[in-house]
Amino acid sequence: MIALTATVALGGRPVLHDIAFTAQPGQLVALCGPNGAGKSTLLRALAGLLPGLPGRDPRQVAYLPQGARCAWGLTVAEVAALGRLPHGDAAAAPIARALTLCGLDSLRNARVDRISGGQARRAMLARILATEAPTLLLDEPTADLDPAAAHAIMALLRRLAQAGATVIVVLHALDLARDYADRMVVLQDGRIIADAAPADALPAAARAFGLPVGLDTQPRLLPPAAA
Amino acid sequence: MIGRLLAALLFCHGAQAAGVVSLNLCTDQYLVQLAPEQVAALSPLARDPSLSVVAAEAARLPWVRADAEAVLKLAPDWVLAADWGAQTTLQALERRGVRVVRSALPEDFPAIRVETLRLARLLGVEARGVALLAQMDATLAQVVPGPALAATVLEPRGYTAGAGSLADSVLRAAGLRNAGMGRRQDLETLLAHPPALLVMTDAPAYPSLATDFLRHPALARLPTRHLPPASLVCGGPWSADAVRALAP
């Protein structure tokens, strides 16, 4: 379980107002909302990265920021091994499990700057899985990916949640949130305006985005690529 | 207002007592030894005991930088300087009508005799010059000729005294053979082929890498004779003291 009660101002500008947020193990929570709503700030606050808020035990909470890039040409296995830094070990088993979960066994020794964007994103995901933290925080893990790659990542996160992890994902794509999340939290102007099952929260999300209400709110069958 | 200020400045110009200004460390020492009462000002280096044999006397005398304006303000009868260094300042003084006497700084004892007498006559103290030279010759005459040992005068940064230098003249006057001959000597070669005698001047007060070289612990075991730091800087009647310090 992870919980946060906070009001956050960055550079004198209020970003989050009176947020009270809790997530339970086994849940995949999607944080949705338009640009500037405070999603990433909420995720960073949950990760304990904001000054003034309590920090987190890095073994308990793993965080994947938006558009994370590697400054060096590390191999896929080396990136995954970074997830062991909080434990101060380089235990082989969790790293191998994370690589297998992310479908990266054949790319272990490939350099992350020489593989496709989707593969590199999966390497970053393998890094937070290798920590084996009970809580996973991911900021737009599917941005810029083709639909098949995006569905593959969401399906993996869902499996992790079903296995007992607390997974909180910032998502721009409302259809992915609708298809995979157990719960959808909609933010607007730094406030939580809806917090419910995706089908119930979608109208509020659509309004926040300025989209016409009446979007197809029925869950779809998962595409075969993600199964 | 400005006119009055200018007038005030001009007045304090002309009001000074006249005398001789020396702008070079070596001519400073001649001037102080020959005619201290005629000193209008010396170079600032003259008061430095690591460079000047007359530092104690010079400390009580006025000093001036080699700057035409500063010298003109003293209105000296004439200016004593070397024939190198500060030449633009000297030319500026000459253009303003100041008499400048240049000294070709002597590096051996015959030249020291000539220069001492010339400067003594210019200063009108010929007897004093003759007395200084007599004292110098008496000191030199005490040297007993022995075997011409090989000696290296080690200077900062590992340079050695070259042929025709003051240190070379002092070595020969002391009955030694100059083994360095102007080569730059690194410590390793020096230790591998040590001279019979190593001559070094005591390091001056200022630290420098060049003089740090002379304090290297590896040199401690070589037979060494130390001279006061000012003794080999300028050639003059006082150079006989360095000869006496080195003679066997």
């Binding site: 960073r44 990760a47 304990g48 990265l49 987190r56 890095p58 909470v61 793993a62 965080y63 994947l64 920021p65 994370a68 890039r69 590697c70 400054a71 060096w72 040409g73 590390l74 191999t75 080396e78 990136v79 970074l82 997830g83 830094l85 909080p86 101060g88 350099r111 970053m124 890094r127 | 280096l45 900062p156 590992g158 730059r184 690194d186 410590l187 390793e188 070669t189 230790l191 591998a192 001056p204 007060a205 200022y206 630290p207 420098s208 890498l209 060049a210 070289f213 290297h216 612990p217 590896a218 075991r221």
Partner: protein
Amino acid sequence: MIRGLAALVLGLTALGLLLGAAGFGLPQSEILWQLRLPRTVLAGLVGAGLGLSGAVLQGGLRNRLADPGLLGIGGGAALGAVVAFYWGLSARFAPALPLGGLAGAGLACAALFALAGRAPSAPSLILAGVALSALASALLALALALAPNPFALAEITFWLMGGLQDRSLDHLALAAPPILLGLILLLRLGPGLDALALGEDVAQSLGRPVGRTLLWAAIGSALAVGAGTAVAGSIGFVGLVVPHLLRPQLGERPAGLLPAAALAGAALLLGADLLARAAPLLLPLSQEPPLGVLTALLGAPFLVRIARQVAP
């Protein structure tokens, strides 16, 4: 690889004891212990400090052009050492010399991080480094010109170009403890540098906040580079070149480079110093070429190559 580098360092150290102005071979004990030993060990230590500090700075700043010399840390160290030396502080209290180097290098590090910001991009960092280097050499020249010693200015080449000729056991005793301490501090930074590979947020979420890593990198570099520069002058490019030579063999992970960078830096400077000693024996030269000139001859083409790779 590490074992090979260690063997290379040992071999070059042995050569360093065998080669000198007096010729090749085992010299008399005074030459061996008082001249060749301090010189050789200092070359190894100073080189190790420069190489390791280069690898740590490149990792910490996530910039392939980072180098203690290019970034002005060497210049700051030389300035601090010059002030301590020519103003007579080190004559009264010998450890003032390495302490001056440490203070100068530490100030340069602090100014660098302040100028370049906390997430330094390549151009802003290099510009800040160029500005710092220029300021440090200007202040160095000023300090030498105003020093009480009228001959101090003539020694600017040593401080800008470096050299190890005729260093003594005293120099070794002054410089070795801070350099060794700096090496130990820098070698412990591996995990923090690795964590920074994915950015500052990730580093913090992994329990390795960037501020702490950079602070220790600055302290370690100040110790390793500052004390080395205080006795050997500023020697450039070793820290730049070493990580680049190692990455093709060892991979790009910053922590994986650290021990090898210390050894390779030592080997590089030992080799350059041997070259400097051999030059007057092989060529009609009256003196040794300055050590920093040799490393610059080696490093400048390297910098051009890296700059062309980095350029968009």
